[in-house]
């Protein structure tokens, strides 16, 4: 059984149909890529997965459990984490605080007013370990706003990782990164993917083709093609479309 699965998802904003009959299933441990041109509905699909947008029809299931109608925080609590294309960090917090607040242990104590966070070294250690895993060891005391762009991108992922998710959704993680940055990101995802199910939106084709187990192509709100990178390279439509620098 697929870990996370979308079935017949429709999304309409006013009279505009953004997603039409999207079916998609991601197996446990898989790294699933979603690609397609701008405005194809990729981010909207993520918004449906994570509860930001309610589909007008269709279902989202996590390990068989229906997530339809749940709010973002409830879906997050079930183990779906996401990063954002336009970075959404707590800019006034340090890198460590950004990660700390995402830890499930911290969330469990979210209504605790009796103890000070600063007196608790357990959180700090756990947060620093996550930071180290994305290559931000030693940067934990820096205010997020003051981090360079590439490190902010890494922090964006660290925050999602800190949630200990079952499914990690990354929205255009390479956006704005140069060739070096993208290369480092490939290495980072290579390191963390072992015990994780990852769905990643990306229009950087090299990036996706080198990482993904399977890829779905979304265009005009529909899944037009799906398969392994190898299969897609052979796909007539993908090869001919202007998507395929690869072809």
């Amino acid at each position: 059984m697929a870990l996370i699965e979308a079935e017949g998802v429709h999304v309409r904003f006013g009279d505009r149909v953004v997603l039409e009959q999207v079916d998609l299933a991601v197996e446990e441990g898989e790294l699933h890529g979603i690609m397609g041109p701008n405005g194809a509905g990729k981010t909207t699909f993520f918004n449906v997965l994570t509860g930001r947008v309610k589909p007008s029809r269709g279902r989202i299931r996590l390990a068989g459990e229906d997530l339809a109608g749940l709010s973002p925080h409830a879906i997050a609590n079930k183990g779906v984490a996401r990063s954002f294309q336009t970075m959404t960090l707590f800019d006034e917090f340090t890198a460590r605080e950004n990660v700390m607040i995402a830890l499930p242990a911290f969330r469990a104590r979210g209504f605790d007013v009796r103890r000070a966070v600063a007196g608790d070294t357990g959180f700090a250690q756990e947060a620093d370990a996550v930071l180290a895993s994305v290559g931000l060891a030693g940067r934990s005391a820096v205010i997020a706003r003051q981090l360079p762009y590439g490190e902010r991108r890494a922090l964006e992922i660290a925050v999602a990782l800190a949630q200990r998710p079952r499914v990690l959704c990354l929205d255009e993680p390479t956006s704005g990164l140069g060739i070096d940055g993208t290369q480092r990101l490939v290495e980072l995802i290579g390191r963390i993917r072992a015990n994780l199910t990852i769905v990643v939106i990306e229009h950087e084709m090299d990036f996706l083709f080198s990482l993904a187990d399977r890829i779905s192509v979304i265009h005009w709100g529909q899944v037009l093609a799906r398969g392994t990178p190898r299969e897609l390279q052979a796909n007539e439509w993908v090869r001919r479309s202007n998507l395929g620098r690869f072809a």
Binding site: F84, T88, F90, F93, I101, P104, D112, A116
Partner: protein, 323 residues
């Protein structure tokens, strides 16, 4: 508000210095040309502004109608005294509870809203409470106010303090201030306070991290309202009456202005700085010109435009070690 080196403490060096200065104030306040009642006002408004800043500075929510809860506290204190029991603790408890419940009720409507909508909803509720205070004559005395509210003795069982004179009341209000400051300091540095700070920076991210954002907004609003109500109850004692004007949009706006001018957006102490600055300047400058509120309004506009971090933010480089 950035994290302080003293975040884990209950009582910080700053608090100690401030409390000592305040405790000695009745000895020197006449000598500097001021008077004890001003001290009472400063402390009460400081409690109110600190409570308000839980919403504005800590959680990033703009409430233009906080006077409602201050007023509910003041009326509830008076009504409890007349109808329930002339016991100070019971009356303060009733006032705090009533304001907290009012905040909880309003919070249920507004906590799913953000930004502009949130602000307009708070104005609307503020006006509703204000109108009720004016029109419900039999309960509140209408525009005449609820008069003859007594300064009840602070009875600790073994000893009972008379706080009917201004100096006695000053020390009582100071004791409440001390407790509120220590409690709020701990609150803003607790996990709960940090989640609120996260919500201020990005509601979206906080929600996707699994935090029920609206419930945090609801609880902090109710809590802030409750403490505002406590301040209102103290104010009713100080004035020996409760009037509807504290609930008007002007006086609700005053606490916004004082908090922001003082630097509530960046500093825990901002609201207190703002209240001290405002009330002393009101007495000094207000004696010279009737247009004093206009000048304060213009100062507020200038601060919003040029220095949203307020006085505390501007002074920070000077007192870098002081927080």
């Amino acid at each position: 508000m950035p994290h302080s080196a003293n975040a884990a403490r209950i009582v910080t060096p700053t608090m100690l210095v401030l409390w000592l200065a305040l405790a000695s104030a009745p000895l020197w306040i006449d000598a500097v040309g001021l008077y004890p009642y001003l001290g009472v006002e400063i402390l009460i408004w400081s409690i109110y502004a600190l409570a308000f800043n839980l919403v504005l500075g800590t959680s990033g929510l703009v409430s233009f109608g906080h006077g409602a809860y201050f007023g509910v506290g003041a009326y509830a204190f008076g009504l409890a005294q007349f109808n329930l029991s002339a016991n100070l603790w019971i009356c303060l408890g009733v006032a705090t509870l009533a304001a907290g419940l009012a905040g909880l009720f309003v919070g249920l409507f507004i906590s799913h809203r953000r930004g502009i909508y949130y602000a307009f909803m708070t104005i609307a509720f503020g006006q509703i409470f204000w109108t009720i205070a004016i029109k419900a004559y039999s309960l509140t005395g209408g525009e005449d106010g609820l008069l003859n509210i007594a300064r009840l003795p602070a009875d600790f069982g073994v000893v009972s303090f008379d706080i009917s004179d201004n100096v006695g009341l000053y020390y009582f209000v100071l004791a409440v201030f001390v407790i509120v400051v220590a409690a709020l300091w701990r609150l803003v540095h607790s996990p709960y306070g940090r989640v609120l700070a996260a919500i201020r920076q990005s509601e979206t991210r906080a929600a996707h991290l699994g935090y029920p954002v609206w419930f945090y907004k609801l609880t902090v609003f109710a809590l802030s309202a409750a403490i505002s109500g406590l301040a209102g109850a103290l104010f009713a004692m100080a004035q020996r009456a409760a009037f509807p004007d504290v609930m008007s949009v002007n006086l609700s706006g005053l606490v916004v202005m004082m908090t922001l001018v003082g630097g509530g957006l960046v500093s825990f102490w901002g609201p207190v700085i703002g209240v001290v600055t405002f009330l002393i300047a009101r007495d000094v400058i207000g004696a010279l010109t009737f247009a004093w509120m206009i000048y304060f309004g213009l100062l507020f506009m200038a601060i919003v435009l040029f220095r949203p971090e307020g006085i505390a933010g501007m002074a920070r480089p000077l007192f870098a070690r002081w927080r």
